[in-house]
């Protein structure tokens, strides 16, 4: 798993390259925890190069969304985009599609999220 991070105004974009499974989830969790510890409150995860995700990977997103303040009106500061067919299927089966904000493209994910400079 490769994790590339960049910032766009007040949004931190995190690109996941590889697979998010039992082997790579501890490293990914650590990277996301580090980003939140540095004060980031708006995360956009680029999933276009994520090959597949298992339940261990879903737990990483669940822990991250909880840390950001849940999925209610005050939360929702985690957005994802670019899910392939299999990742989308795993999100749908598990019910994660209904609790995480999933977008088609980076532009869609940033719309209304980014605070202008």
């Amino acid at each position: 798993m490769e994790i590339a991070t960049r910032t766009h105004n007040d949004v931190t974009l995190v690109a996941l390259v590889g697979s998010l499974d039992s082997n790579t989830s501890p490293q990914t969790q650590q990277a996301l925890d580090g980003i939140l510890s540095s004060g980031a409150r708006k995360l956009v995860v680029d999933m276009t190069a994520l090959d597949y995700i298992s339940s261990a990977g879903l737990r990483v997103f669940l822990a991250t969304v909880k840390r950001l303040g849940g999925t209610g009106a005050g939360g929702g500061a985690l957005r994802l985009f670019g899910l392939n067919e299999t990742v989308r299927e795993v999100f749908d089966i598990s019910g994660f599609s209904t609790i995480l904000a999933v977008f088609a493209t980076e532009a869609d994910a940033l719309k209304g999220f980014l605070t202008p400079p």
């Binding site: 697979s19 499974d21 039992s22 082997n23 790579t24 090959d51 597949y52 995700i53 298992s54 339940s55 261990a56 879903l58 737990r59 669940l62 909880k66 849940g70 999925t71 392939n84 067919e85 299999t86 299927e89 795993v90 089966i93 598990s94 019910g95 994660f96 209904t98 609790i99």
Partner: protein, 151 residues
């Protein structure tokens, strides 16, 4: 068929019941699937199923063995590619453990309130066309089938 060698339309790999071995099994399966032009969506579904089931087997079927392997035991992953189906058979000599006996998660409850256990097996059941468990000859045998549609 040579063990661990992703050649032809079948291959077999034996790993130690150690968590670090799961990634090696998945990498070998991916190499086999790509060499045989298995569609990505099918290959990825099996990658998920292998991660879930191998982790489960190592955690439950081999509980109490020393971490890092070396405690004996083996898990064999046998893959067979036929024109209409891909079959993956997982065989291990651990304690009797039926992963399918895990209760399905209550998907009507909010995700945040659900116990995490059971989700992996739920994914496997939904992603695969067939999942079977047998206890045979002192071994746990899990058979996964994914049907292939002709293009």
């Amino acid at each position: 068929v040579h063990a661990g060698s992703p050649l032809g339309n079948a291959f077999q790999l034996t790993i130690e019941p150690d968590r670090a071995e799961v990634a090696r099994a998945n990498a070998a399966f991916t190499a086999f699937a790509e060499a045989n032009a298995v569609p990505d969506a099918i290959r990825r579904s099996l990658n998920v199923a292998l991660d879930e089931l191998l982790q489960n087997t190592i955690a439950h079927g081999f509980a109490g063995r020393p971490a890092g392997g070396g405690g004996g035991g083996a898990v064999t992953i046998a893959v067979e590619l036929l024109p209409d189906r891909l079959t993956v058979t997982l065989t291990d000599d651990g304690q009797p453990f039926n992963p399918l006996a895990t209760a399905a998660p209550d998907t009507a409850r909010p995700v945040e309130e659900r116990p995490v256990g059971g989700l992996g097996v739920h994914l496997v059941r939904q992603l695969m066309d067939e999942v079977q468990y047998h206890r045979r000859g002192g071994r746990n045998v899990v058979v996964l089938v994914k049907r292939l549609t002709k293009v």
